[in-house]
Structure formats: structure tokens, C-alpha cells
């Protein structure tokens, strides 16, 4: 025990000087869920798979909302998304209260097929 105690006197500290130094993260650390809004097709698979019911998708208004305080970062939504628009960021989200825990974003929605171009303008989405 004395050897360990003397060794600790002269070795650098075992604790991280957070927040002066950034916190330790690895590539797979479960931080928070990010969405790429342009690729979302509002299929609602993520809403069905979420075990806590944190994700809420409105198809008519084309919005995707996640309740950060309910999300347990299990990554079921990331695994099941067909267009891979959901990903996991290794940084923890900022501290938040219940009132602004919900993060809402407008998404692109299902892509309409481009009709065959007639003489004139092709229909845009």
C-alpha cells in the first residue's frame, strides 16, 4: 500500500480536468440521436420500434420530433431506418429541462416520382 501511495504522489492525476479538458469519448459512445432531414421519408419505422415512445412523426405536417428526456439511446431507430437518415453522435446532449426537451424538425417527406416530361415544365415536389 505504501508503494502505491508514493507512486500516486509523483504520477499525473487519474481524474480528468473536466471541463477544461474535453470528456473522454470513443467512436461508439452512446450520446444522442441526430437526424438528416433531407433523407427522411416519414415511414414511421422509428416510431414503431422505439421502446420508450420518444419519437413522434407527423406525416401530414412532415415533422419528426424526439423527446430527449425519454430517449435511452438504445439505437433501435438507427438500426431500423431504411434510408439511414438517423445516426448517433458520441457527444452527450446539453442539459435541458422538461419544457424544451422535445426537438422538432421539418423533414423532406416521401419523394414523389418525377412524371415523364411533357412539353412544358416537369412537376417539382
Amino acid at each position: 500500500m505504501a508503494k502505491t501511495a508514493i507512486k500516486s504522489l509523483f504520477s499525473p492525476s487519474a481524474t480528468l480536468m473536466y471541463p477544461v479538458r474535453a470528456a473522454k469519448r470513443t467512436a461508439v459512445t452512446r450520446g444522442h440521436i441526430l437526424i438528416d432531414p433531407d433523407n427522411c421519408i416519414t415511414c414511421r419505422s422509428c416510431q414503431r420500434k422505439c421502446p420508450t415512445g420518444a419519437i413522434c412523426v407527423e406525416v401530414k405536417e412532415k415533422t419528426w420530433q424526439i423527446d430527449r428526456l425519454r430517449c435511452v439511446i438504445c439505437n433501435s431507430c438507427v438500426d431500423v431506418c431504411p434510408t439511414k437518415c438517423l445516426s448517433m453522435d458520441p457527444e452527450y446532449p446539453k442539459a435541458l429541462t422538461v419544457r424544451d426537451g422535445k426537438y422538432k424538425v421539418t423533414v423532406a417527406g416521401p419523394k414523389k416520382k418525377e412524371p415523364v416530361a411533357e412539353a412544358g415544365k416537369p412537376e417539382k415536389e
Binding site: A5, K24, T26, P51, N75
Partner: protein, 359 residues
Amino acid sequence: MSKQIIIPFGPQHPVLPEPIHLDLVLEDETVVDVLPSIGYVHRGLEKLVEKREFTEYTFIAERICGICSFIHSLAYVQGVEQIMNIEVPERAHYLRTIWSEYSRLHSHLLWLGCFADGMGFENLFMNSWRIREHILDELEATTGGRVIQSACKVGGVRKDISTEQLEGMIIRIKDIKKDLQNITSVFLEDSSVKHRLKKTGILSKQDAYECGAVGPTGRGSGVAIDLRETGYAAYGKLNFKPAVATEGDCYARCSVRIQELFSSIDIIEQAAKKIPEGPIDIKISGAPNGEYFSRVEQPRGELVHYVKGNGKKNLVRSRVRTPTFTNIPPLVKMLSGCQLADVPVIVLSIDPCISCTER
């Protein structure tokens, strides 16, 4: 007959990691009887299984306890796989074994720290947890979570460990083994620690067998039952021997856990060398219809998960029997006849994990 008084121990107590209430009946500093009562962290998780699909329930099963979370999810997932007759690939078995042994290392180091703290030896507590940080870093680098891993799923595991990561793990675990040898020699050789641990809380082999002591509490008294010998996951293909001691006092239980630390390191090295290539999961379809008792070896003893399904997506019943629940009657036997000042050390020596006990 001298006067008897009742002193309440818990639910808030500095040595207890989780709340349990013990009413100690004392006669002049000697404990005569103990009346335990639990129920302070009951969350109703067994009822929740009827409201979640059986694939989603894995995330709830691993949150039954924070210290032994991977092994809870492993027990549940094994039960469902046996009902549905799913053959999990070999690589998934080895990965599950490696993560289970890391969980066992981290749990025993946490216990060693809390035990030293219960005796008043804070420096040893901090040094044990400093080693535990290295283990948690390994778990975070491979699964993403330090305490809750979310790595098991029905049909396999969700993340893979690459060969370079495995080689790095074997190198780092040799350094951890050297640090462990320094720390554990203090637990086993230091004269003040031995003075507090030897001959306190004696549980004879007959009592341990009759009261149903499991895990290191039973193995410290000579009851040599270790469920890893039944060969679930990849344990059937690895060599190890369960650690047993015969005196039945707190020192024997402490030395059993210390021997298990070194045997866990051995198992990890064996598994990392023998792991085969291949897929890590298998696609599943359908729903479980049947019942099964799934038994695994948690750091604290024998864990039993009973799952029952009837063909729908939600299971009908899940029942969890945790080792701390079975270790409370031996605790009552151990405490009879001891001095009041020895009560915290004896309560800690069974490794109470009350959040498992009342899901």
C-alpha cells in the same frame, strides 16, 4: 433476561449501495435477531413485460440493475432463444462470454471498493475504483456504454469487436492484472483488515446449504455451486474452476471473490484467443410460444429468469429470481450473535444488490 432494544439499520446508511431495511434486535451490543424488510425500489418491471414487445423488453431487462446489467439481458435473451429454438452463431456466444466476464470484473472491483469503505479504509476504496475505470473504458470502447451496454438482442449481439481491438484488450488486461495483484494483497495480508474480517459472520456449510446460499456467499462456506459449469454461452469450451473456501467467515467470502477476479482475467484471455470468425446475429421471425427457466451466473450468484409466451408479440409472464433475495436468510443467520459494530461489514459481505431483488 436482559432488556432487548430494536435499532433500525437502513434504508439510508452510508455503507449500503441500495436501500434495505433491517431491524436489529439487540441485547447489550450483541445482535440476537434480525427482521429484514425490502420494497424501497420496487418498480414493477415484471408487469411491464406484458406491455412491450419481446424484442424491446431486452432494454428493460438490462435496466433491472446497474451493476450486473449485461448478465440480466443475457439471461432474458437466452430464455427467449431457447423457447423459439434459435441457434445463435458461435461468435456471438464468445462475445457474450467476454462481456459477461468484464461485467464480473467490474462488479467485483466495485464490491471490493465498497467493502473497504465499509471498514473505513478509504484509500483502498479509491484505488480499487481507479482500476475499475480501466474496465469501464474497455466496455465503453466496444459497446458504447459504461454501465448499461445495450449489446444483447434476441438472436445474437448488436456490436462486434474487431481483431485489433481484441489484441489491444489482451495487452491492457495484463497491466490490469498487475495492479490487481497489488490491491488484493492488501485485502488478504494486511493485519488490520484481517483482524476485522476473520471470524466475523460465520456461516457453516450445513446452514449455507439449507438456507439456499448461492454465489460467493455459498462458495465461501464450501458449497461449490457455480452455474458457469453448466456450459451456457461459450463456457462449455473454456477451462476454469470455481473458487471455493471453507471457513465461512467474511475473510473467506472476500478471498473467493478475489480468486474469481483472476479467473475472469484468465477466461477473457482464453476466449479472445479462441473466438471464431463468423456472423454475430441471426434473423428471427415469429413469437415465442412456451416457457423456459434460464439460469446464469451473476457476480452475486445464481440468477433465474422465467419467461412464458403464448405466440403473441408480448410475453405473458416474466419472473426474475435474483441471488441477493436468496442470500437474505443466510444473512439473518450470520448476523445472529455478532457485535453491533460488525453489522455493516457482514451486510456488505453478501454483496447486496437490492435493485435486482425488487425489480
